[in-house]
Each structure stands twice: as C-alpha cells, then as structure tokens.
C-alpha cells in the first residue's frame, strides 16, 4: 500500500472543512463573475480564484472568537471563511440592503464585526497600520488573540508596510503579516518593481522573522500560520509570511491579462489548490470522487442560492444615504 500523504497527520473532518471552504469560495466567486457579466454587480470585482489555499489554510489556525483578520479589496474569501454567509456577501456585491454593509460597501468592503472580519480595505497598503492597531488593542487589553493582516505583493512597497512592521516589532504586537504574492500588482510583474524578489526577507529590516510558503498548498499555509500565530501569542514576535500564489483571473474584471502568458497560467492551474488537496485525500482513501462531486454540488447550490437571495433582496431605502456617517 502506498505511503499516506496527509492521513497520518490530519483528521478527515478537518481536511473536509478546508476542501469545502475552498470549493465554496470558488463557486461563489464564479457566480459573482457571471453576475458581473450580467451587470447585476458593478464597479470593481477582484476575484480570488487560484488563491483559495492562502485564506483557507491560514485562517484554519485561528479562533475568531478572539483573533481577527483584516485584508484588502480582494476580500470575498476571507469574509466567507470568517463565517459571513454567502447570501450577505453576494447581496453586498449587488448593493442590496441585506448585504453585510447594507449595500454601502460593495465587493471591496466586506465587514463582519461579529466574526472579527475587519474588512475589506480599498487603498493599497493603507490597512496595514490599522491591522497593527488591532494587535495593539489585544496587547493593551491583555487579551489572548492575534491578527492576520493580508495584503498583496503590490502593497509591500508602500511606506505604511514599513511603518507598521517597525512598530509591531518595537511594541511586540501579536500580528502575522501575510503577503499574498500572486506575482502581479495589477499588471506589473513583482520582479520588475521590487529590489528584493523574496518578499519575506523584507521583515529582516525590522528583525521580524519571515518565511516563504507555497500558497497553492492549503496545509503548508496552515502549518506556517499556526507556527507564526503561536510565536505572536506566546512571545509577542510578529512574522512576515510570503504566500507564493497565483490568481487565475485578471486583477479585476476589466483586466485583459496581456502581461502574462497562457502557458504560465496553465502551469499554475496544474498546481490548483483544490485539486492538490482533493487528490491527496483520494490517494489516502479519505475521499471518493463521488463525495467530491457532492461537495461541489453543495457549493454550487450555495452560490446559486446567494445570487437568488441577492436578486430578491430590496435596495436600501433612500434615507440610508444619510445614515451611518456619525454615531
């Protein structure tokens, strides 16, 4: 009998949870893309497809009763994993009153205070000090929590990144910075604009440990984050993880993707995070193809139902325009 790949280390329910989360993210986003094409969703729509293992693997190391996540405008996956319903997510993209932000945020601003999903931020780099401030709160109130702060390879050159890392280290804050290096800041290859190509090394200036993680492998993401979370909570040492990953779709829906080749995209599709985990589970006898089809069917239904929910939800009332500006 062939050697087990993952069965000895992880229990089946945990692996199924990761697999289901990744499939749901993908199917919900595919539905969003379809509805964008039908002009049900407007503005910017930044899809996560291809990067699912990063959010799912890293957030599996959290307890969102006391931990927090904050991310960029490419935020659907983090919101879903945190516990936001696909209905509230899709309705927000539709701009409906039943959306997580009552239709005032849209695709880029998914917030779920109860589940400690702190957005959904649209200005590249701007949220990194904010996430650091959340870690400051945890330390100030002597809580047992950690913050995962996600951003892209494009954001790492902002001054905010450097100012945040410096203070996180000086003040020994419980935070893990995760650069989701999907290798293109919009259409710019990160190698063309970064003096250092191993982005995880950028923590060295602040004496912050860094590690390169295969962002297409959900279990590698989980393990690396778990270790960084423990270091943050127990020793007050922040970490910079570089998740090397790939987005299959454009930067946003308007991106023709002429800056990369078909071959490169196909190469990454072979390392697809869902196929990776699925094949390992099948190999180890933890999953059958039929069971996988059932998971996929369920995910498609969640996606379809969310679009139907959004379609049938009301627009915000006109007076909502003037609400939620001040307490």
């Amino acid at each position: 009998m062939a050697e087990k790949r993952i069965a000895d280390k992880y229990d089946r329910d945990f692996l199924l949870k990761l697999l289901e989360e990744m499939v749901i993210i993908r199917r919900v986003e595919e539905k969003a893309a379809q509805m964008y094409g039908l002009q049900k969703i407007g503005g910017f729509l930044h899809l996560y497809i291809g990067q699912e293992a990063v959010a799912v693997g890293s957030m599996a190391a959290l307890d969102l009763k006391k931990d927090y996540v904050m991310t960029t405008y490419r935020d659907h996956a983090h919101a879903l994993v945190a516990g936001m319903s696909a209905d509230a997510l899709m309705a927000e993209m539709y701009g409906k009153a039943t959306g997580c932000a009552k239709g005032k945020g849209g695709s880029m601003h998914m917030f779920d205070a109860e589940n400690h999903m702190l957005g959904g931020h649209g200005i590249v780099g701007s949220h990194m000090p904010l996430a650091t401030g959340v870690a400051f709160k945890i330390k100030y109130l002597e809580e047992d929590g950690v913050v995962l702060c996600y951003f892209g390879d494009g954001a790492i050159h902002q001054g905010a990144f450097h100012e945040a890392l410096n203070l996180a280290k000086v003040w020994e804050l419980p935070i893990v910075y995760i650069v989701e290096n999907n290798q293109y800041g919009m259409g710019t290859d990160f190698r063309r604009i970064s003096a250092v190509h191993d982005l995880y090394k950028k923590g060295c200036s602040y004496d912050i440990p860094g590690a390169l993680v295969n962002g297409m492998d959900v279990l590698e993401m989980y393990e690396a984050t778990k270790e960084a979370v423990a270091r943050a909570k127990e020793e007050g040492i922040p970490t910079l993880l570089e998740a090397r990953t790939y987005r299959y779709r454009g930067h946003s829906m308007s991106d023709p993707g002429k800056y990369r080749t078909r071959e490169e995209l196909d190469e990454y599709r072979k390392q697809d995070p869902i196929l990776f985990l699925k094949s390992d589970m099948i190999h180890d006898g933890l999953l059958t193809e039929e069971e996988y089809q059932e998971i996929d069917k369920k995910a498609k239904k969640i996606a379809d139902d969310s679009a139907e929910f959004a379609e049938n939800s009301p627009d915000p009332e006109p007076e909502a325009l003037y609400e939620d500006i001040y307490v």
Binding site: Y68, K104, G120, F136, D324
Partner: protein, 326 residues
C-alpha cells in the same frame, strides 16, 4: 476661578480623561519622555506611565493608522501630531479609513479617536510649517472638526472630543499655548455645534473660528471707537456647524464679515459666507465679506508673513466696506 494657559487647559483635559477611562491613551512624537514638543503633555508620562503616554517614531501614517485600527476595536486614542503640517503624511488614514469606516461597513464600527495638535501659522516658519488646514479636514463627511480659541473652550471641547464615538479633528495653535483665561476647577463639557457669542453687538456680525478670534476682538474695539457695535460669533466647532447662531446674529445686524486664517479658495470661510448669502439673502444690507489668508504659500520674511494673514486692519477695513463707511 483660576486662570490657566491654553496649554494647561488641554493638558488638564487629557490628564482627566486618561484617569477617567482606561481605554484612553495618547501617542505621538515626543509626547512621553520629552514631555511634548510644545509641552502640552508635560508630566503625563510620570503620572500615567508608558502604557498610556506613548512615544512614536516619526511615522505619521504608521502611528496614526495604528491608532485608527485600535479605535475600530474599542480603544479611545488621542493622536498628537506635532503640527497639522505633518498630519498630511497621515491624511490617507484619516480620510480613507477613519472617516469612512462606519459608512462603508454599514454602521458596524464606531471610531472614537481624537487627532490633535497646533494648526495655522506661528512666526518665521515659512511655507511648510505655517499652514492652516481646517478647510481640507472640514471638507470630509465622517469627521468632526473643532477649533477652540480660549482655554475654557479648549478644555471643555477636548473632553467632549475624547468622549465622542466619532473621529474628531481638534485644532490648537502654537501662538495660543501661552494665552491665559479662566477655567473652572469643577468638571464641565462643551457640546459640539454650539457657537459662542464672544461679544454682543447690533451693527455687524464678525464670524470667526480659531486663533483669529483674538484679532477680531481687537478689531471690534477699534470699530467701537468709530461708533460701530460689532457682534463676534466664535463658531468653536466647524463640523458640526452652528448655522442657527450665525443666522440669528445676521438677522440682528444685517451685515457680516467672515474671518478665517485658511486660504480663501474652497475654505471654511468661503462656505460660511456662501451659507449666509444663500440663507440670509433678504436680510443683508451689503454683500458678505471674507477676510482670509492671502492665496499664497507662507513666506519667511516677517513683514511678508504678517501681510499674508488676516490682520486687525484688514478686518476693520472689511467691516467698514460692509457698513459703507469710508
């Protein structure tokens, strides 16, 4: 009633609020060990300790953003900017994050944070250190903007700002830190959005906020010698703005000069002047005048820098214009 300085009034407010609420803390450049670049925070580190009074590096975007994130999850930071000129390094986090968080999350988050420091020109500081930036903050929905001009107002408004669950821009002035005034020993709060009539009069309304109040009071004395009884309306807070107090005064005097030390283009002053022109049109006996800073960067030369700002003479001249006095 004891007389204290504007600086001491602000210090008292911070001191009392830190003692009152464990979630309140102050951070900024030189606020702790150095006792404050302008000595506003003098003694607070030794009294409250380094958890509550925190030195930062010169990284306005970073430490301001950290405070915004902390406020989002329930702490109540006071950010000291050494001056508002440097706040432009943090303008993104104030405008894009602090002012928007509640709205774009559909009301899920409040933002109990105060951004404070000296604003406007002092002396001999040239272009980059002499700016009055209230207009660019007042432009932003989601922010409150407060501009006290006396020790009494400073203390009462700052305590209100620290207890407010919204982001508050609190603007002081280097040239006012030594200004003395009566401040009661017992606790008091001054609500936002209530202008204060600093001098009652019936012939003309002089509408002002922040440091130029003191020039306007001198101008009113000069006008009195000309037989003109001027009313001085100190707005105290820009957002929210006490429109009623402005209109009530103009109703009485039928003439108005607005005084604002920021630049004239798209400014607090031009906005207030427009509000009066629009809402008091039938009451006005003359067009509304605006006395602002000149539309130029600040020069270093002392004669020139004084010429760039509102002066008592300019205010008197504008008042005479509105009164058709030659």
């Amino acid at each position: 009633m004891p007389e204290i300085t504007f600086r001491e009034a602000i210090r008292q407010a911070i001191d009392e609020e830190i003692a009152r609420d464990e979630r309140v803390f102050i951070l900024g450049e030189e606020v702790a060990q150095y006792d404050g670049a302008y000595k506003v925070t003098q003694g607070l580190l030794s009294k409250h300790g380094e958890k509550r009074v925190i030195d930062t590096p010169i990284a306005e975007e970073g430490f301001t953003g950290i405070a915004v994130g902390a406020a989002m999850v329930g702490l109540r930071p006071i950010v000291e900017w050494m001056t508002f000129n440097f706040s432009l390094m943090a303008y993104d986090t104030v405008v894009n994050s602090a002012a928007k968080m509640r709205y774009m999350s559909g009301g899920q988050f409040s933002m109990p944070i105060v951004f404070r420091g000296p604003n406007g020109p002092a002396e001999y500081l040239a272009s980059q250190h002499s700016q009055a930036l209230q207009s660019i903050y007042a432009h932003i929905p989601g922010l409150k903007v407060v501009t006290p001009a006396t020790p009494y107002d400073a203390k009462g408004l700052l305590k209100t700002a620290i207890r407010d669950d919204n982001p508050v821009i609190f603007m002081e002035a280097e040239m006012m830190y030594n200004l003395k005034g009566e401040v009661p020993e017992e606790e008091y709060l001054i609500p936002f959005g209530e202008a204060d009539i600093k001098r009652e009069g019936k012939d003309i309304s002089l509408i002002v906020h922040a440091k130029p109040l003191h020039m306007v009071l001198k101008a009113a004395e000069q006008l009195e010698k000309l037989g003109v009884d001027a009313e001085v309306v100190d707005l105290r807070s820009i957002r929210p703005l006490d429109e009623k107090a402005i209109y009530d005064s103009v109703k009485k005097t039928n003439r108005a000069v607005v005084i604002d030390e920021s630049w004239p283009f798209a400014s607090v002053g031009s906005h207030v002047a427009w509000l009066i022109s629009r809402n008091c049109f039938d009451l006005l006996d003359a067009p509304v005048e605006l006395v602002s800073s000149e539309d130029v960067p600040m020069p270093y030369n002392h004669k020139l820098e004084l010429a760039a700002q509102p002066t008592v003479d300019k205010i008197v001249a504008a008042a005479k214009e509105v009164l058709y006095l030659k």
